[in-house]
């Protein structure tokens, strides 16, 4: 029954995707009511996609080079945000003193979108690696920290009581009760942050860069190559989905015995 459902779901996904591409093809290649200068056919996009693997023209680098450049910056900022954000969020939730010192700064910075930092970062750090990593870091740390914080706050009194009756120390209650409780929330934060980081890198590269997927898209707009723009968009989508799936996999290994939040 369950297997049948999964199969049905798979078939439906393929059909709806095929339908979407079919309509796109019909309007662009068959009816030709949309100029290929505005919207190329899916066939054209596909050939450009293959071509961009080896052809550095017209934007100076192959697709792989652009993608790796974007990935490197994103992952650096993103992983730094996790390494700092998760422990900080946990510490804020568990130790009121940490909360007292960090919260005011955090509350002030929280509503500023990551992209709004780009102009300042360009002035401070230039248009290279450092400025973009910083912007990614700022965008990603907000959801990571917030979710880790509220995850710890989900710790149930009765769980603490039981641990206390067993003579657990404060540190044991944090590591053995509160952190396991928070884990699904921490993972949610990490997943949301991936989206935020990936969105921000493209936006940052659109504004200021010399390589990367956002840069490739921006360059192609200037020389009227919508096919390359779409190739860039699709690549962004594919990489984002793959990273998301990878996280789901990690989550299913780490988070046991509970339904996801």
């Amino acid at each position: 029954m369950q297997k049948n459902k999964t199969l049905l779901y798979l078939i439906l996904s393929i059909v709806s995707l095929a339908l979407f591409i079919g309509i796109w093809y019909y309007f662009t290649a068959v009816l030709q009511i949309v100029s290929p200068k505005t919207l190329p056919s899916p066939v054209k996009v596909f050939t450009t996609f293959i071509d961009k693997f080896t052809n550095p023209n017209p934007d100076g680098a192959t697709l792989l080079v652009h993608a790796l450049s974007s990935l490197k910056i994103t992952l650096t900022g993103y992983l730094t945000a996790i390494v700092i954000g998760v422990p900080l969020g946990i510490a804020m939730a568990w130790y009121p003193k940490v909360d007292l010192y960090v919260r005011p700064i955090f509350d002030l910075l929280k509503p500023i979108p990551g992209v709004a930092w780009v102009p300042l970062m360009i002035i401070m750090l230039g248009i290279g690696f450092a400025s973009k990593v910083t912007v990614i870091f700022i965008s990603a740390i907000v959801p990571v920290l917030l979710n880790s914080y509220s995850g710890i706050k989900q710790t149930r009194d009765v769980h603490i009581w039981v641990a206390r009756t067993f003579g657990a120390s404060d540190w044991q209650m944090l590591t053995r009760i509160a952190i396991p409780t928070s884990l699904p929330y921490v993972m949610t934060g990490i997943r949301v942050a991936l989206g935020a980081a990936w969105t921000t890198i493209v936006a940052a590269e659109l504004i200021a860069s010399t390589e990367g997927l956002g840069f490739m898209i921006q360059q192609s707009r200037g020389i009227y190559r919508p096919d390359i723009i779409i190739v860039g968009m699709v690549t962004i989508g594919i990489i984002g989905s793959v990273l998301g799936l990878l996280l789901m996999l990690i989550e299913s290994v780490l988070v046991k015995g509970r339904s996801k939040v």
């Binding site: 149930r156 009765v158 769980h159 009581w161 039981v162 641990a163 206390r164 009756t165 067993f166 003579g167 657990a168 044991q172 053995r176 009760i177 396991p180 409780t181 884990l183 988070v255 046991k256 015995g257 509970r258 339904s259």
Partner: protein, 257 residues
């Protein structure tokens, strides 16, 4: 038999305990001057109308919450905070969902630093005792309510406490599972005798389980009456004496809205 019980020592001695909660709106007295002794290996049921303060009473008796006045001694020592000599069984959701059955049961000894082979052996003994052999590696959300409660009982037992406090542990179970668990807890208790303080608002359950029932009043709660239950075990819910006592306690119990 009676002689033997007389000889057994008091494990819990509570003297003049009361509990008042104070907040911005004022203070509420929940417990009023409770004096209570619980003997070694006695199965004691605290029975009272809903919301009367039974949970607060058991929290104070066990040291989860400090008393406002009065003292509670366990094995002669005054208690003010929870400790490993007291075990708890709450409602089923008190299990750690991220740990397997084994992980939950061995948790207490693990925290106390008992080495793995030793605590595993002990945990396995209690898992078998509560009838969960074969489910060691299951997670709580894969178990039924009754099975989850068995894990809770094994977890409390595995830490080898002097007293077991059970706060309405079967309250969330359906009627049939509840009857089964009542039989089971008696079987477990007869195999591994402990002093048990069991809180319930179900009079039938209390008569089935208890050596002695302590009936509590409405808030601020105090002891209204005590009943010594001498019916032989296993008890029969439909026995005329059982039913007569049930009616007597029902009539005696304060009514709530």
């Amino acid at each position: 038999m009676d002689e033997a019980r007389h000889m057994s020592k008091s494990i819990i001695v509570a003297q003049g305990i009361s509990k008042t909660f104070t907040n911005k709106r004022g203070s509420t007295k929940v417990i009023e001057n409770i004096n209570l002794e619980v003997r070694e290996n006695e199965f004691l049921c605290l029975v009272g109308p809903g919301q009367c303060g039974k949970t607060t009473a058991v929290n104070v008796l066990s040291g989860l919450e400090p008393a406002s006045t009065g003292t509670v001694k366990i094995n002669g020592k005054t208690i003010t905070r929870p400790g490993p000599d007291r075990g708890f069984v709450f409602q089923s959701t008190a299990l750690y969902p991220w740990l397997t059955v084994m992980g939950n049961v061995e948790y207490g000894p693990k925290v106390r630093g008992i080495k793995k082979s030793e605590r595993r052996e002990k945990a396995q003994y209690y898992i078998n005792l509560v009838g969960l052999e074969g489910f060691e590696h299951s997670y709580p959300n894969q178990l039924s309510g009754g099975m989850q409660q068995r894990v809770g009982i094994a977890r409390a037992y595995c830490n080898e406490p002097v007293v077991l406090f059970m706060d309405q542990p079967f309250g969330a179970l359906d009627a049939q599972t509840r009857y089964l668990m009542q039989e089971e807890i008696i079987r477990i208790w007869e195999t591994a005798k402990r002093t048990i303080v069991f809180v319930t608002n179900n009079i039938e359950e209390a008569i089935y389980l208890a050596d002695r029932i302590v009936l509590l009043t409405n808030t601020p709660t105090q002891i209204k009456k005590e009943y010594k239950i001498d019916f032989p075990r296993p008890r029969d819910y439909t026995d005329p004496d059982f039913l007569a006592l049930r009616e007597e306690i029902t009539n005696e119990m304060d009514k709530t809205l």
